[in-house]
Subunit: 344 residues, 2 copies
């Protein structure tokens, strides 16, 4: 094992994305996002994802140099056409206006369509909370979750992320509606670990603890039974029907072998809490709520583990194996130097 | 058993609420709400609640003739002070302007504080979806749910309700973050039934299937473990910190014996889907999503059971026992004719 600074990792990932067909602005956004997940020890959405990004870019399924188009639908509702590119550049395009509108009117919805989301969702809400806004994000993905009472997967892992300012910081959570994030199932399969009970089903709909059976024609279950499934449905409606994006069950990348990034939609709701009943005292009230949780015996708040990893990485660097670093450096030389088969 | 028409039940409940200290407008709103739940066979929020309403009114904890005040904070953010009255009249006051603002700007938040919510949450979102809007509502309540990893209850049952238009109708769900609605625990206790496994804990924090142990110093668990608990936290922040209402763990009715209605806050988010990427095709897209669920083997959609009961009740009347009808008629004569002890 060795380590790499956050800045150096961002630069390296940027070179990789550019070498594999991304425009400079898209590469910069994806690199910061992916390096941020690795820095926060959110490994399932960190360097682990690079192979999938490159494989998808090579397949022609996603446009790495897409230029998103901001459609100013209404005062408190912005539409963005991601133009078959990644969701993060589309959100980055809308963010300044969305924040201004939320401050001016009290709330603003950003509805992104034709967007590929292959990253963690907390990076989409954290910056807004750091600027004093409450943010709620929903993304649908690809059919890997069986609805309550059904036989076939219809829902995506459909993460929901929420962030709010607190005194001197933020509180944030990001959770898939599936019992487990799809990336974590992939990691378990790669590492030969079995899954916890009631995580998923195999291709015949029978419960299984084998991650390969879930990935190979099987499916995940929603957390909390029909209640988690209801949230999955809300996210399909909010992220796809509202935005004009595809439902998870409509994603069809069969003509693009190697494609891994679902092309669907994303909705972000921004609210300015200073317009609420506590005015500028909102962050202090959030702190009082979090204090009550600790007082009741809860030992960790949402986001705590990531924030601790972040502080650690910023002082000591991000841990990385020499093998992984070598692979990244080879990928930075472009597809010619790192043939497709190395990441397929 | 006998039956009563929806209109007659509304009239009877209105008389009861007026006889027990509610103003005419408040009585009309609560009566329609409660009769609607009974009509839809949502018994835990129907006639079962009347005793609790009357007991709370008699205790002086809630103001049955409160006049809510609409504070027009910003273009897309309305604040309402429910003035220690019920949440439903406060929402009714804000609804016309909130709908107009959502249509004009694309979105509108309604933040209600100092409000008592003792009813189902779906009646708060259904009318908006029937008018073509997407609606999301969150209410916190009183500390009866233990956070993930904690020893004491901090969260309320904190329901989340969501409704969206579909072709010729709406899709709607309303679910508590607790494993079970508090009203259903009360009904199980009254009927001497035990609870499903992993529903709640007793006063010592030990798992129990005895509803009385949950009600008597014990607590409920959140659905889906830490993921359900995260949603409970989001709802505390949205319904209390944002609105200026009390957190569930701050509700203190100790000076008002007989009080049962939590005085907290509620937030409703309205979005006009015609501003989204599908424009007027939104409802058709929602239908396509619901068709995919049925196609995958799901046998019932959210809201279906209630809608079926509603149709049945509108043609055949609402089933009611003679005993219950007699009690309601006695209550309609006022507190003098039906002393406090009959419903404490």
């Amino acid at each position: 094992m060795t380590s790499i600074s956050f800045a150096d990792l961002v630069t390296l990932l940027e070179r990789i994305f550019v070498a594999h067909g991304c425009s400079a602005p898209v590469a910069a956004i994806l690199a910061a996002n992916c390096a941020g997940a690795e820095r926060d020890a959110a490994h399932s959405h960190g360097l682990f994802r690079i192979e999938g990004y490159l494989s998808t870019l090579a397949s022609g399924w996603v446009d790495g140099s897409a230029v998103p188009v901001l459609e100013d639908a209404r005062t408190s509702f912005l539409r963005v056409d991601a133009a078959n590119g990644f969701a993060q550049p589309a959100l980055a395009l809308a963010a300044p206006l969305a924040m201004a509108r939320a401050r001016e009117t009290g709330a603003c919805v950003v509805a992104i369509r034709r967007s590929h989301h292959f990253a963690a969702l907390w990076p989409d809400v954290e910056p807004f909370a750091e600027q004093g806004l409450v943010a709620l994000a929903m993304v649908n993905s690809m059919a890997v979750v069986v609805p309550a009472g059904a036989r076939q997967p219809v829902y995506g892992t459909n993460p929901l992320a929420f962030a709010a300012p607190r005194e001197g910081g933020i509180v944030v959570f990001d959770q898939a509606v599936s019992t487990m994030a799809h990336g974590d199932v992939q990691i378990a399969a790669r590492e030969g670990r079995s899954l916890p009970p009631r995580t998923g089903v195999d291709a015949n709909g029978a419960p299984t603890d084998d991650p390969r059976a879930v990935l190979d024609g099987g499916a995940l279950l929603a957390f909390g039974g029909h209640k988690g499934a209801s949230i999955a449905l809300m996210i399909e409606i909010m992220a796809a029907a509202l935005t004009g994006g595809a439902f998870s069950h409509e994603v069809d990348w069969s003509a693009h072998p190697g494609a891994q990034t679902p092309c669907t939609g994303e909705t972000i709701i921004l609210i300015d809490p200073s317009r609420g009943g506590c005015g500028s005292g909102f962050a202090a009230r959030v702190d009082q709520m979090l204090a009550a949780l600790l007082n009741a015996g809860q030992t960790r708040l949402p986001g705590d583990r990531r924030f601790a990893a972040r502080v650690n990485a910023m002082t000591k660097g991000i841990p990385i194996s020499t093998t992984q670093l070598n692979r990244l450096q080879a990928w930075a030389k472009g597809p010619t130097q790192s043939p497709l088969r190395t990441y397929l």
